[in-house]
């Protein structure tokens, strides 16, 4: 199977054929963006100082090594739990025009609507694979809102085939985590019955 690579700027058409469960990669620009940055954009109505229209964001707090003269190196970068941004994400997509959101774990109905209505997708990068992620970063080209501290700064990097990214929400209204939950819960009930037959130790 050929590697599916998205390159920024990403157009709505590029996302049409992508479905939940697909594995893709990203080449181009990627900006870390998490809790407080989302809050500033949505609640404080401050414009994001980085143009992510047709671009990509990563829910993450990296470990950065300053190299002096405004140069930085990415030591490790791993996704953080996306669900914390759920509250803001639908509006964030609408406000910024971002096309690709990368994080850890699933997101909810708001993000699903945002992705469907404004044509964006949410992907999962396998957590705990911080060194792989860091080695996909070619260089850090910008740092904004540095007042937020290292984890929360908007670090924009040039990345090459950043991934694997597993599509968890597509532009067609599908959400893989929600679908999985239904399956898991159903199987759980069957397993529960099976085990209970064998553990009646109190008689």
């Amino acid at each position: 199977m050929a590697k599916k690579v998205l390159t920024t700027p990403i157009q709505a058409e590029d996302l049409e054929d992508i479905h939940v469960g697909d594995v893709i990669y990203l080449t181009g620009r990627l900006t870390t963006c998490r809790d407080v940055a989302h809050r500033r954009v949505i609640e404080e109505k401050r414009p994001l100082p980085v143009d992510v229209k047709d671009g990509a964001i990563l829910h993450a707090g990296p470990i950065i090594r300053p190299l002096g003269e405004d140069k930085y190196e990415m030591v490790t970068v791993g996704p953080t739990t996306s669900m914390r941004m759920e509250k803001f994400e639908e509006e964030f997509i609408k406000e910024t025009g971002v096309r690709l959101i990368i994080g850890k774990g699933g997101m909810g109905d708001g993000t699903m609507r945002g992705c469907r209505d404004y044509k964006a997708i949410h992907c999962v990068f396998p957590a705990g694979c911080a060194v792989v992620a860091a080695t996909c970063v070619e260089e850090i080209i910008d740092a904004q809102w540095k007042d937020l501290g290292m984890p929360e700064t908007l670090w924009t990097s040039k990345v090459k085939e950043f991934g694997p990214l597993i599509v968890s929400i597509d532009t067609h209204g599908n959400n893989i985590f929600e679908e999985n939950k239904v399956i898991f819960n159903k199987r759980k009930e069957e397993v529960y019955e099976e085990i209970c037959r064998e553990v009646r130790f109190i008689k």
């Binding site: 199977m1 469960g21 594995v23 707090g61 990296p62 470990i63 030591v75 490790t76 970068v77 791993g78 739990t81 669900m83 850890k104 774990g105 699933g106 999962v124 396998p126 957590a127 705990g128 694979c129 911080a130 060194v131 792989v132 860091a134 080695t135 694997p164 597993i166 968890s168 893989i176 985590f177 999985n180 939950k181 399956i183 898991f184 819960n185 199987r187 759980k188 069957e190 397993v191 529960y192 099976e194 085990i195 209970c196 064998e198 553990v199 009646r200 130790f201 109190i202």
Partner: protein, 299 residues
């Protein structure tokens, strides 16, 4: 060796070992992950496992911590009552964490509660956490090291059940944690279950269960059977790597137990993520050490 020399030596070894455990997973975890990866057929699950394996190789090659969350450091001790450096031990362990934090480097993960600031050193009130068992008539000291990450600490739950709920209630409790919090804790998980009277007893058992090697069994045949039933059962749910579905869900299920008050069953669940950074090192009275969690240790 003077006492001062001994303290320096032990601090140095523990610091290096802790830093090392952030970069290489213990043998049992590596073997199990390779085994589970080999069973997957779906491209999605396979891609995730391949990334995990590549990450572990790169971590070693580039000498970097394999996951960005290097946890809050915890030590589980089985210290001989005649171990000559028992009095110095808590100071040694604290200092070794400060050293490992600089040298590895480890992420700063110790936030003072109420005053709410990060100490920047990975030591703070009660961090590293020390859990002591003093063993009579012995003069050596066993240390389990553990990096308690945020994602894998989050599913931790404890509850006191009524006896009427029985081991069926224990089953329900464990399974519910798996399909809710377990999903985001980076499966495949090592699941620790503790059984006893009250919550703190059960909780401590559930964590100590995570120090036991994968594939080991509880000495009580019924408890061992329940480990097996839960392992098979949770695997059938098929959480897969990262909760994105697959053939399995867990690295294993370990149960630790003690007796209970007739009116209650205390139960607790703790999980280790796929990046289960547990180490085991034993010092004799002359501070010669053996490491049995990791072969080919190079520091």
């Amino acid at each position: 060796m003077t006492k001062d020399d001994a303290v320096l030596r032990m601090t140095d070894i523990v610091a290096k070992f802790v830093a090392f455990t952030g970069k290489r997973l213990p043998d049992d975890v590596r073997e199990k992950i390779a085994e589970l990866a080999g069973q997957e057929e779906e491209p999605l699950a396979k891609a995730i496992y391949q990334t995990m394996l590549k990450n572990q190789e790169l971590a070693q090659e580039l000498n970097r911590p394999s996951c960005q969350d290097t946890g809050a450091i915890q030590f589980f001790l089985k210290c001989g009552a005649n171990f000559p450096y028992m009095s110095e031990l808590s100071g040694i362990l604290r200092e070794s964490v400060i050293r490992a934090t600089k040298e590895a480097p480890l992420r700063h993960n110790a936030v003072e509660t109420f005053d709410e600031y990060n100490t920047g050193k990975n030591v703070a009130l009660g961090i590293p956490s020390l859990f002591w068992d003093v063993v009579p008539e012995r003069d050596d000291c066993e240390i389990y090291t553990y990096m308690a990450g945020g994602g894998c600490s989050l599913p931790g739950h404890a509850k006191v059940l009524m006896p009427g709920e029985g081991y069926e209630g224990v089953t329900r409790f464990v399974l519910d944690v798996m399909t809710s919090y377990g999903l985001n804790a980076c499966p495949p998980l090592l699941v620790g279950v503790g059984i006893g009277t009250s919550v703190e007893v059960a909780a401590l058992h559930s964590k100590k269960a995570l120090m036991r090697p994968i594939g080991s069994h509880n000495p009580n045949p019924r408890a061992a059977k329940m480990e097996q039933l839960l392992e098979t059962g949770i695997n059938k749910i098929g959480l897969g790597p990262q909760g994105l579905r697959g053939k399995n869900s867990v690295l294993g299920v370990n149960i630790e137990n003690s007796a209970r008050h007739p009116s209650v069953i205390g139960v607790a669940v703790n999980v280790g993520c796929w990046s289960h950074r547990r180490g085991h090192i034993v010092f004799d009275k002359d501070l010669n050490y053996t490491i049995d969690s990791h072969s080919e240790v190079d520091f």
